[in-house]
Symmetry: C2
Subunit: 210 residues, 2 copies
């Protein structure tokens, strides 16, 4: 495989050593080409439309505009570009923020070069590369608490409440009486030690009961 159209990459990373290191390593690899690298988002934004890379390696911890804030701005200019986040800290909020804003993958700088090259290839192939710990964080966010104090029926009802349904609609939909729904809700409030739907939803989500 020689002289195929190379995968084009842009690096946005403030640490010069890392930036130059990645640039060198990627350019030294067959079929990969770093079009440009920037030390901050501001510079990158004015040049990206010209660069039109397939993949952007984006540091999270940047001066000025932070990496996460940059994601929607970049996606706006280049909707088809894949964004891979680079980070040293595996902060949970950052992970979810970056993903909701449109990042396609999430790597840690401690990942070795081979893994990062693989990730670039994988994202171009339509994948979603993540380092091991990030995958763990993501999967863990799905896991529900198996020790919920709520019964099956109570959980069902609380989920409906969290979907904005009124008690009477829940009753109709579950083919039970409004009074039954009220009873369940009373028990839910008792068990969660709350006095409103708002607090019940908050408590249940915090503890991953729903």
């Amino acid at each position: 495989m020689e002289n195929k159209t190379p995968i084009t990459v842009v690096i946005i990373e403030d640490d010069e050593t890392i930036r130059n290191g990645f640039t060198y390593l990627i350019n030294a690899t067959q079929n990969y080409k770093v079009l440009n690298s920037y030390s901050n988002v501001e510079d990158a934004l004015v040049n990206l439309v010209h660069d039109k890379p397939q993949v952007i390696l984006l540091d999270i911890e940047l001066p000025g505009i932070k990496g996460i804030e940059a994601i929607p701005k970049i996606k706006n200019l280049l909707p088809k570009t894949y964004i891979l986040m680079l980070t040293v800290y595996e902060n949970e909020d950052n992970v979810f923020n970056a993903l909701t804003k449109g990042a396609s993958g999430y790597l840690t700088k401690s990942d070795n070069t081979e893994k990062i090259m693989d990730a670039i290839q994988e994202v171009v192939d339509g994948g979603a590369p993540m380092s091991m710990n990030i995958a763990k964080i993501v999967i863990k966010s799905f896991h529900k608490n198996q020790n919920s104090p709520l019964t099956k029926r109570e959980t069902e009802i609380l989920e409906q409440i969290a979907n904005g349904k009124s008690r009477s609609k829940i009753a109709k939909q579950m083919f039970i009486d409004l009074e039954t729904v009220k009873s369940h809700i009373k028990n839910i409030y008792l068990k969660l030690n709350v006095h409103s739907r708002e607090d019940a939803i908050k408590e249940a989500k915090n503890n991953k009961y729903i």
Copy 2:
């Protein structure tokens, strides 16, 4: 690395060829041992407490008790056992159901043996192995629609509504008048073409506006 304590595995899979194939391949690998394999969940459940495997390879498409329903039952017996789902169909609902119920990873049967062995190792190391397409589905579930018709403020308010907050609490919390909140909600309903908080939440979630 020879004669370390092996990683113990149980396979639950109804296709005999696949079951025996995996059993053979895993046993042929250094430091891995298949304690038992079962063709259905019912048989597995009565023996698992004795087997006490570190990892279970669990097929989704099983006769009788389906793989997904089996997860909480297994987790109940063996809370520390890692469950890796095996599937042929990359069905989105199945993926999320399995993950919420406590599966630690998600592989497709088309993954080659090496990948499956790597996944077993990775999950024991505390990771969350996923095949490429599954990772893509998971990451995509986080992505929000960047073309929301709602303004920033409207989105904020709709998120509060989805958290169960009343209009007056939203007003207090956002330091704006109740009437302003009402105005925003009116506009949200107009834009989403709905007439209730319930439908607004549903519509917004369907389109990933929130």
